[in-house]
């Protein structure tokens, strides 16, 4: 079958541009003001528990989980809540509430509830702490981690895959994290394995990060779980870091259409999330900051660590400002990231990179049916059919081509010689199908 | 259920029957006027085809299968004709081969008087050149054995670019005449007896 379906070719090789991979993580000065949207994660928005005028400290809970698939939000600075505003989400473009906090510059922390014996914590306690720390998947999808750690009883998890691929060009935050905080990551993994009760884990790292592979292998071999964790070298190819492609690459299994990795007994977690789990369990620190890469058309591309809610402009200024012709700011990588309306947009839990670019959108041409998108699609779909059907408003036919299986990785649009924005058409089609779905 | 509704069930049947009857009567009437005319028209049309080769013909007779003909002028046999079929590029080619009134001991004695194409579906501008006189005239006064392409030693030059059509004509003539030779002989002898 490999003659007909060359699986290796499914995916693309955009130029890596990992210009910041040798830059140590730097801490950005505290912002003067933070804007914290109540919906920074997948699931129900959090519910605010502070009101205008309240004094808050760093790490103080300012919103609590709005449901099971939801997490609390903590203040990332110390200061005063000045207002609650309505703002457009930087991810979904939905309008939601956001809490604005004026920083007093003191950076006072709330009393940290640091467990005395982190290794002795029960499964329930760990889950509770993970949830209360507001941890979500930091790879970009921002799925609440405590939900992932509590699979339904009929789904036995036997393998954990740690995603250290970072297949998107430019981004190096996970790379730096693995180099500088490898031990914490592995401790986090240990906690996860304990919670899920499984004794098999893979750390998948792309071959373009040899130092990270070396570092992680060294740390794994020195740890007490060295027999259970395997560092897996993966070819540098986009989208290797999508959980479904990663799972297939490492375990040779496919997640059924419409299913989750847990359907085949696997949980995929980003390295950043593991670091956050470590912080929450060992140090009792909630999720208030993260590592992110600032790259592209900025004067000094850097890996930085910043508090959530910091306006992007402050981070960019810290990196020396933008080059003169830049007119696009992307939260996330160039392949799947979301272009932002303004430089003032605050970063959120899912923001793993700020990428500055010059707009290079070209005129959309006619599809010449070259099949590049079919060949590039990691999910083995036929993206061009979605364009054809969406253009003709034939939404029901989209299902015949398994549109729900699309992960919107952008490989199709990247290679399209006619510059067709395929992902845009696919998003329109999915949204239209969602509208028609009987509730 | 079993009760038949006269208006709903019987009337339509009766109506349709009446209509059919009327149309049958009408057709029978039209047929009675036109039948003879159609037959004569057909005969005339064929006679015309034959008279291309036998300009002084007055009558002809044919066998049961209607593919062999004997042509007369005032009861004198002046020649024979055979309908031949070749399979060409676009379909069958129907032809009429006119023969000199020779001794019919074997096919080798036959001499062609001429050839005409009755119907064909060859490519216009190419294969349909078989209907043009420069090609057909080659078949005048040719012995049966000479019906072969000049390339392979015969008397007939193929139409350039339409070798297939030319071959089809020749193969059609040869095979059809070989097939129908016996019935031609039979027809001729029966005519002579009467």
């Amino acid at each position: 079958m490999s003659l007909f379906n060359n699986e290796k070719s499914h995916g693309i090789h955009p130029p890596g541009n990992k210009i910041t991979s040798n830059k140590k993580i730097e801490r950005v000065p505290l912002p003067k003001q933070v804007i914290l949207p109540l919906s920074q994660h997948i699931g129900a928005p959090s519910k605010a528990i502070v009101k205008k005028g309240d004094e808050v400290k760093v790490g103080q809970k300012i919103a609590e989980a709005g449901g099971f698939v939801s997490v609390p939000i903590h203040s990332t600075v110390s200061g005063k809540v000045t207002k609650v505003i309505e703002m457009v989400s930087s991810v979904t473009s939905n309008v939601g509430n956001a809490i604005v906090i004026e920083a007093d510059g003191k950076d006072d922390w709330v009393k940290i509830d640091k467990p005395s014996k982190p290794n002795k914590l029960s499964k329930k306690e760990i889950l509770n702490r993970v949830k209360e720390a507001g941890i979500v998947g930091l790879g970009g999808a921002t799925f609440p981690t405590h939900v992932k750690l509590q699979p339904p009883p009929d789904k036995k998890i036997d393998t954990i895959i740690i995603n250290g691929c970072e297949c998107e060009p430019f981004i190096t935050s996970d790379h730096r994290l693995m180099l500088e905080h490898g031990e914490e990551i592995l401790k986090g993994l240990e906690i996860m394995m304990k919670v899920l009760g499984c004794n098999e884990a893979y750390i998948g790292i792309e071959s373009n990060k040899p130092d990270a592979i070396e570092n992680m292998e060294k740390i794994v071999s020195e740890s007490n779980i060295s027999g259970e964790v395997i560092v897996e070298l993966l070819p540098a190819q986009y989208p290797m870091g999508a959980e479904k492609t990663l799972l297939k690459r490492i375990l040779g299994m496919e997640v059924p259409i419409g299913g989750l990795p847990m359907d085949v007994g696997v949980v995929v977690q980003n390295v950043g999330t593991l670091k956050a789990i470590y912080d929450a369990i060992y140090d009792g620190i909630p999720l208030v900051e993260r590592v992110l890469t600032v790259s592209g058309a900025v004067k000094e591309p850097k890996n930085i660590i910043s508090r959530f809610g910091t306006p992007a402009s402050e981070i960019i200024d810290y990196c020396g400002g933008t080059n003169s012709n830049a007119n696009v700011m992307i939260f996330g990588g160039p392949m799947m990231g979301i272009a932002q309306i303004s430089f003032d947009t605050p970063t959120t839990k899912g923001t793993n990179s700020i990428l500055i670019q010059k707009n290079n959108t070209e005129v959309e041409g006619n599809c010449i049916r070259c099949g590049t998108c079919v060949e590039n699609c990691p999910m083995n779909l036929m993206p061009l059919m979605y364009v054809a059907y969406v253009k003709k408003n034939m939404y029901d036919e989209l299902k015949d081509y398994w549109i729900d299986n699309c992960v919107e990785c952008g490989s199709c649009a990247y290679g399209c010689p006619a510059n067709i924005p395929l992902v845009q058409y696919i998003k329109v089609g999915k949204a239209e199908l969602q509208k028609r779905r009987p509730k | 259920m079993s009760k038949t509704n006269f208006r709903a069930d019987i009337v339509p049947i009766l109506f349709l029957t009446v209509v059919v009857c009327i149309s049958v009567i009408a057709l029978a009437y039209v047929d009675s006027i036109t039948y003879e005319k159609i037959e004569t028209a057909k005969l005339e049309a064929f006679k015309e085809k034959l008279s291309v080769h036998f300009s002084d013909m007055t009558d002809f007779t044919s066998n049961d299968a209607n593919d062999c003909y004997v042509v007369f002028t005032d009861n004198n046999t002046i020649g024979y004709a055979v309908k031949t079929i070749g399979s060409g590029y676009g379909g069958t080619i129907e032809m009429l081969v006119a023969l000199e009134p020779t001794n019919l001991s074997s096919t080798d004695d036959l001499i062609l008087r001429g050839l005409s194409v009755i119907s064909h579906s060859e490519t216009p501008g190419l294969g349909d050149k078989i209907t043009q006189s420069f090609f057909l005239d080659q078949f005048q006064e040719v012995s049966f054995s000479g019906i072969e392409l000049s390339k392979t030693g015969g008397d007939i030059d193929a139409i350039s670019g339409a070798t297939i059509s030319s071959k089809a004509v020749i193969n059609g003539i040869v095979s059809s005449i070989e097939d129908r030779f016996d019935s031609l002989v039979e027809l001729v002898s029966s005519v002579e007896v009467s």
Binding site: K156, A339 | S160
Partner: protein
């Protein structure tokens, strides 16, 4: 200072991905043009400078027609090179001494009817150049069957009527190896661009090397013809692949993105079908050459192939096949039901270890 520039800047918002491969339609078309120059040079060498005129007229007519058609359809005319490719390909499948007016009519037909009437680039069902050739063949059968022998002089306007090797069959005076060499280098009668297998092969390899075409269609197409000719008694497989327009068709026509299937499996079916048709037409049909019609016929099948040969998507679980014997099926399903999915996946995993 920096802050000011940052704040006042207006940002452009577009959907992901924000980077793009350097490949685009225009570049693809110009690479094809470049590859086509080789067979054109071959044509000029063997049949004289007049053939260059034919190519030029064809290309100019194609571009002009596209411009006019776009104007008529009130669409923007973009010089994306596809008209040049069509014009070149069309000229290459014409006899060397075709009158220029026939070239104009044909090239205009290619663009106006076969391409633009269906909606322009990407929407045509048939390969424009081949459909144009078919149109001219049916229209002016006489012109399209008058071949000349190679004159091997650029300035010569001589024309000695000759038959193509395929039209003549095997009645070639000389040894088989001479025939092969003549066929390979193009020293035979035929269309402008289809005589020299070697030139076309080099052009085709250029396309393969630049990634414009995939190996599947040319290899399967030529391979099928070779294999079938080898299996049929009395046919010379080498002669069959070298003679006529098979190479030109396999590398430049059958691989046309728009009119061939997109999936690898579909391309196999397409190329195999075309190969079978070539042999059927050449050996059992009434025409000496069948490349053009084989590709056109398979073009007609392309939408069907694309509809039914979809790649198996990631994570696809085939629906349970309906057995024709319900009793047996029942027994089977209970078997399967006993073992949940989990088992099969762990099996796989263990295999991996």
């Amino acid at each position: 200072m920096a802050e000011e520039t940052v704040d006042q800047k207006r940002l452009v918002v577009s959907t992901s991905p924000h980077i793009h491969d350097k490949k685009n339609t225009k570049k693809v078309m110009y690479v094809v043009c470049l590859a086509l120059l080789l067979p054109i040079i071959g044509g000029v060498y063997f049949f004289g400078i007049y053939t260059l005129l034919v190519v030029l007229v064809s290309v100019i007519t194609a571009i002009t027609t596209e411009f006019l058609a776009k104007r008529l359809r009130k669409r923007e005319f973009i010089m994306d090179g596809s008209a040049i490719v069509t014009g070149m390909l069309f000229a290459l499948v014409l006899p060397p001494r075709i009158p220029l007016w026939a070239v104009i009519i044909g090239a205009a037909f290619c663009i106006a009817i076969v391409k633009e009437a269906f909606g322009g680039l990407g929407h045509n069902i048939f390969n424009p150049a081949l459909a144009g050739r078919a149109f001219i063949t049916v229209s002016f059968a006489g012109l399209m069957t008058s071949w000349i022998a190679p004159v091997k002089s650029v300035i010569s306007l001589d024309s000695i009527t000759s038959a193509t090797p395929l039209g003549e069959g095997f009645s070639y005076a000389g040894s088989t190896s001479d025939l092969y060499i003549d066929l390979l280098f193009g020293n035979v009668g035929g269309c402008i661009g289809e005589t020299s297998a070697l030139f076309i092969l080099i052009g085709g390899l250029l396309l393969l090397a630049t990634g414009v075409i995939k190996w599947r269609i040319p290899v399967v197409y030529i391979g099928t013809v070779f294999l079938l000719a080898w299996l049929i008694p009395g046919q010379d497989p080498v002669f069959h692949i070298l003679a006529g327009g098979l190479f030109l068709g396999a590398f430049f026509m059958a691989t046309d993105y728009v009119t061939c299937p997109m999936t690898a499996k579909g391309q196999f079916i397409f190329a195999f079908g075309a190969g079978v048709l070539v042999i059927l037409i050449r050996v059992y049909g009434s025409m000496p050459e069948g490349v053009a019609f084989s590709i056109l016929l398979m073009n007609a099948f392309t939408p069907l192939i694309d509809r039914h040969v979809k790649p198996k998507p990631y994570g696809y679980i085939p629906p349970e096949k309906k057995s024709r014997f319900p009793l047996k099926k029942k027994a089977k399903t209970t078997d399967v039901a006993d073992k949940p999915d989990q088992d099969s996946s762990t099996d796989k995993k263990e295999g991996k270890k």
